[in-house]
Amino acid sequence: MPRALAIRSTVLRLAVGYAALFAGLALVLAGYIYWRTESYLARQTDRAILAATETLLERHRAGGIQALIRAIETRLADEPDEDEIIALVDGTRRIVAGNLESAPAETTLKWFELEILRKPANSTARVLRVPAGDTHGLYVGRDIQVRLDVRTVVAETLLWSVLLAFAASILIGLLARQMLARRLARISSVADRVVLGDLSPRVPLSGAGDEFDRLAADLNVMLDRLSELVDGVRQVSNAIAHDLRTPLTRLRGRLETALGGADSPARFRASAEAALQELDQVVRLFEALLRIAEIEAGHRRAAFARVDLAALAEDMVEFYQPLAEQRGLTLVADLAAAECIGDRMLLAQVVANLLDNAIKYTPPGGTVRVATAQAGTETEITVDDDGPGIPEAERDKVTRRFYRLEASRSSPGSGLGLSLVVSVAKLHGGTLDLADNAPGLKARLRLPRATV
């Protein structure tokens, strides 16, 4: 399965990477310890050799070669130090004094390392060569075999600990991989079910509040939104199926009537015209539904710009003024500066829908008022009337698609006007309140105010 492979490679890469980094750091640290230890020991040895050499040369300067020879012999006899090596060599490269069997071959270097015969095993010594007088050469040194052994032990120990650290980090990596895979498996199983079309499963949270929980919570929010959208689509298709059938049935009826009256041109024409009107109504309903669906899907935000709500309300009032007058209504505007960020056409449609409702349902002699205002972070546009209003129990329902009050079933309208208003309000991050205007209805659209 490709997904499992991907997990393995990612986590394993991570584990190996960490192991390498860990081992690298351990190696650097070990190298440093080794270097410090080694150089400390080396300095100690050299200091001892220099001190001994200095003491002997002092005797040479005071009493010549004979004094030096005596000093060497006394030193070797009185202070037996197993590790100390002294040899005085004359011009013919013969040992004059000291504890070496033969003169060291080295005659050029000042400091050198010398293989010496020892029991039970041979060992290595570090030796300083200095001239004593014109003919003789003095060799002073120390057996450093112990130091070399220590060095080896330290190096080996360090190497082993690096290897151990490397192995441990690989092990930890593998464990982490297992843990990650287990937690990812929960997410993948949910994803697999969603792919199969079931939007109900949610990723369980471990309660730890860690990155995985946050990811799971984000995914769950995404799935919630997704099922909301799918439900919306389902609702629209149900609504289309249900509410387009009625006008389509009427349309069909009209066309059948037309066929029945085909012998009379006048009747045929009348029926065909009525059928066309019915058809236009179907198309309008269909467009309103699609528009609501489109708005709810949130695609329209791309067209957002600064909108002067007061100017827009003024346009709408001017647009509806003749209609209001024709119906014997007074339409008044009470407009204060109000701006928001939004879609001008949709907001115009909203105000038109609210005004249309108010004008349609307010009896002659009534007043319809449009107001805009802004305060704090909100801007609002209100349409109120002194008509019959909406009974409190019905106020929530009127914003549903196709819901129409008993009293208004006979008047023209799609039953989509207010649900479109609600969709547009939601798209803009606002709300629609319907309240009692005592008497009448007060519809208030509240939107976030445009910030400079």
Binding site: E287, R300, D315, P322, L323, G417
Partner: protein, 226 residues
């Protein structure tokens, strides 16, 4: 007039061709974008009517864009099943002159076609518009009929100006809403009708011959003869 219709749906094509032929125009038909582009670049047409979604690799918008790149300025009316505002904007950006959503009434198609043809032949700067004895002075914004001055509100003036600029043509309610109010939405009630009837009250009442006519099932037309 000679038109090219690029439309893959044969039934829609037949309907449009029949309507335009009856109005006395010659209509050529191309069933896909490739042939449409070929004919539009090779022959002279007064206007193109192009369906937005076409089979055969070249869709309507691509066809129009390509055509415009060759320097063609032939007016184009786009027909489309995509009604969203941004689709409309995309259509106009591609080089279309107007955008008509399916399904449409034939009268709407004809009215919009006439409007874009008129746009191509914009007359030199006019300062006075005249239809019969009705006059609109564009500079002083004064309206006179038979020498008598009429009082019009600013919006009524704009409505009248649009009708006069399209005198003799049929203009639909949607065209008026877009052109005079600069809004593109669906006014649920026939608000436009109320505006037009007020205008009619002012320009036709008291004169023997009405100029502003209602065209059944289509819209309005301002012209001397009924």
């Amino acid at each position: 007039m000679r038109f090219l219709l690029v439309e893959d749906d044969l039934e829609v094509a037949r309907f449009v061709i029949k309507g335009l032929s009856e109005a006395g125009h010659a209509v050529e038909h191309a069933p896909d974008g490739r042939e449409g582009l070929y004919r539009a670049t090779g022959e002279a047409f007064d206007a193109l009517i192009v369906d937005r979604m076409l089979p055969g690799g070249i869709d309507g918008l691509t066809m129009i864009e390509t055509l415009r790149r060759t320097g063609s300025v032939t007016p184009v009316l786009i027909l489309s099943a995509l009604a969203q505002v941004d689709e409309r904007v995309r259509g106009l950006k591609a080089g279309g002159d107007d955008y008509l959503t399916k399904p449409f009434a034939f009268a709407e198609l004809q009215a919009r076609l006439e409007a874009i043809l008129r746009r191509g032949h914009a007359k030199a700067v006019e300062t006075v518009l005249r239809v019969a004895d009705l006059e609109l002075d564009l500079l002083s914004r004064e309206v006179r009929r038979a020498g008598r001055r009429l009082d019009l509100l600013p919006r009524e003036l704009r409505l009248l100006e649009y009708l006069m600029r399209h005198a003799g043509q049929v203009v639909t309610r949607t065209m008026l809403l877009e052109a005079v109010w600069d809004y593109h939405f669906d006014p649920q009630t026939n608000v436009i009708d109320v505006h037009v009837s007020r205008l009619r009250q002012k320009i036709d009442k008291g004169f023997p011959r009405p100029l502003l006519h209602t065209i059944r099932g289509a819209g309005y037309s301002l012209r001397p003869e009924p």
